[in-house]
């Protein structure tokens, strides 16, 4: 949605009203339109046109009685126009346009009623529509950054400006990603439907990983001068809650939500008054959000209750839960964290997991064994170019009293780190070594 700031106050208030409705309803509006038209890209286009029209009309005439109904009816009209234009080229579209104009969906579902007090969609179908929308936006034919942008746009109802702000990229880049993504979906003839049973588990993994990327970028901004972009992380929490409500029987969905809640619980303590990063050991744990911890533990309980063993997200949530329930770093159950990282390394092997396991080993058994694990990782070259490895190596060397080497490693880590706040923590640590 376009959101030109400024302008007269009535324009501004109309913009905010449209944004509020869009945030709540975008998934259902685009989902319903995609099902009516069978064309995801068209659905997104006409929905955006309706939003643009709302900005103009609502600032002049005020918000309509049923903002959702208004948006859906306007978008549907635009879809009919589009089909009519195409029907000049291809008569199959004429039939579609006719049906749509009569208010009969191509799938045979009931038309959205025009009475303002009724929801303009079929309540029995809307869950499937929103789920299908999530699966489409996270479809494997799309590049990872396109999945992220499309999910935030169509499911989360964020504007291109908001997405650009969240990922520190220019607005035209976001717009181009979304446009390209829609073309890719059309070219690959991706049907708007729930994945067939055989593909369901794998495709769900794709959706979860998109939410994970959104959350991670919000919770550990990879670049820029702010440590956290909590609004972005909160979007991921919101989307995960929606997904949990839609798919309550999938343990990893609960595991992912648990991980988000337990990690977000620490946000208030992670940033100092000057915006600087506060390390786990220095955090004032009284600032942790206890209600988020409670929600996270409950979600983790639901993930475990399925009895199928925790997946990668559930295991990460279990690690976060160890921290959340500890009163201090030394009081933390590091042995359990080591075991959980071992399990995580088995189900989702990655050099970052190994590095984190080394940190946990250092806390449980001391720095010697941890250092040899980190050195093995360094030799493998699998984390080359990342600031994480020299950062951890520097800390371990410092604990072993090898000050000069430690300082060199921390300074190397600072050079490699793209987040300004994190970099200054590394430099402070290096300078404090004696």
């Amino acid at each position: 949605m376009s959101s030109a700031a400024g302008g007269p106050p009535c324009t501004e208030s109309a913009r905010r009203a449209v944004e509020a409705v869009w945030r709540i309803e975008s998934a259902r509006i685009v989902g319903a339109l995609a099902r009516y038209t069978g064309d995801f890209a068209l659905a997104e286009d006409v929905a955006q046109e309706a939003v643009a029209e709302a900005l103009v009309t609502w600032s002049r005439a005020g918000a309509p009685e049923s903002p959702v109904g208004w948006l859906l009816a306007t978008a549907r009209r635009r879809a009919v126009d589009a089909f009519r234009r195409r029907s000049a080229l291809d008569e199959r579209y004429a039939a579609l346009a006719g049906r749509l104009a009569e208010g009969e969906a191509s799938s045979g579902a009931a038309a959205p009623p025009d009475r303002p007090d009724d929801p303009p969609w079929d309540p029995d179908r809307i869950d499937d529509d929103v789920l299908a929308l999530m699966f489409t936006a996270c479809h494997p034919v799309l590049a990872p950054e396109a999945r992220v942008a499309l999910t935030l746009r169509v499911v989360g109802g964020l504007s291109s400006e908001e997405i650009a702000r969240g990922f520190l990229v220019p607005v035209p880049t976001v717009q181009a990603r979304i446009t390209r993504a829609k073309k890719t979906i059309a070219a690959a003839k991706v049907p708007f439907e729930l994945p067939p049973a055989g593909e369901r588990r794998e495709r769900l993994g794709g959706v979860l990983s998109v939410l994970y990327v959104i959350f991670t970028e919000g919770s550990t901004a990879t670049s820029g001068d702010r440590l956290l972009r909590s609004d972005l992380a909160y979007e991921a929490v919101r989307l995960a809650r929606t997904l949990v409500a839609l798919l309550p029987d999938e343990p990893e969905t609960h595991g992912l939500l648990a991980l988000f809640e337990l990690t977000a619980a620490r946000f208030p303590a992670r940033v100092g008054p000057g915006g600087e990063a506060v390390l786990l050991e220095d955090q004032d744990r009284r600032l942790w959000d206890r209600s988020a911890i409670r929600r996270g533990l409950a979600a983790l309980g639901r993930a475990s209750a399925a009895g199928r063993g925790l997946g990668p997200y559930g295991l990460q949530a279990a690690i976060a839960a160890c921290h959340a329930s500890a009163t201090s770093v030394p009081e933390t159950d590091w042995e359990r964290i080591v075991l959980l990282y071992e399990a995580l390394g088995r189900v989702a092997p990655s050099p970052v997991v190994e590095l984190n396991r080394a940190v946990a080993v250092a806390m449980a058994d001391g720095p010697d064994r941890a250092l040899s694990m980190v050195d093995e990782l360094a030799v493998s070259g699998r984390l080359a170019g990342s600031h994480l490895l020299p950062g951890v190596r520097g800390e371990l060397l410092a604990r072993l009293g090898r000050v000069a080497e430690a300082r060199a490693e921390l300074e190397l880590a600072a050079r490699l780190c793209r987040n300004v706040r994190e970099r200054s923590v590394l430099l402070r640590r290096a300078a404090a070594l004696t």
Partner: protein, 139 residues
């Protein structure tokens, strides 16, 4: 993100209408809306209050508090219940409030709920309250 309380206020008439509504029907109507809030991931808390006639009022107009049974004052606006939601903007809170399946005549007031972080953290009483919030997992 900010927390908002949606305060539901009824009148004698709307409370009476609500009481006449079949219980199952009321549960379904409110339940559907509550479910929307849950699915959208914004619901923090919600409570509804018992019949105002069962309430008690403590009046501080005089020198000593006076306790009377029954509803508060002229009963033009009876406090009936509340939602607390965590949303991106006041407009979003308003948009959710518009959707409450409220009975004609009732009203919903929307007020932001300041977080404990917004109070002076060096104040002893704030620190105590904070400790209680930590122990009990309050907002």
């Amino acid at each position: 993100m900010a927390k908002y309380m949606l305060i539901l206020r009824g009148t004698d008439e709307s409370v009476a209408e609500m009481t006449e509504m079949p219980f199952e029907q009321m549960l379904e109507t409110m339940g559907r809306f509550n479910d929307e809030l849950i699915r959208a991931g914004v619901l923090v808390a919600a409570e509804g209050l018992e019949d105002p006639a069962q309430g008690v009022v403590v009046d501080f107009s005089g020198e000593t508090p006076v306790v009377t049974d029954g509803p508060y004052g002229e009963t033009k606006e009876l406090f009936g219940g509340f939602y607390i939601i965590d949303v991106a903007s006041k407009e979003e809170a308003v948009e959710w409030a518009r959707r409450i399946p409220a009975i004609t005549g009732s009203k919903c007031e929307i007020r932001r709920v300041p977080g404990i972080d917004e109070f002076p953290q060096d104040n002893e009483w704030i620190a105590r309250e904070r400790a209680w919030r930590e122990r009990t997992g309050q907002l």
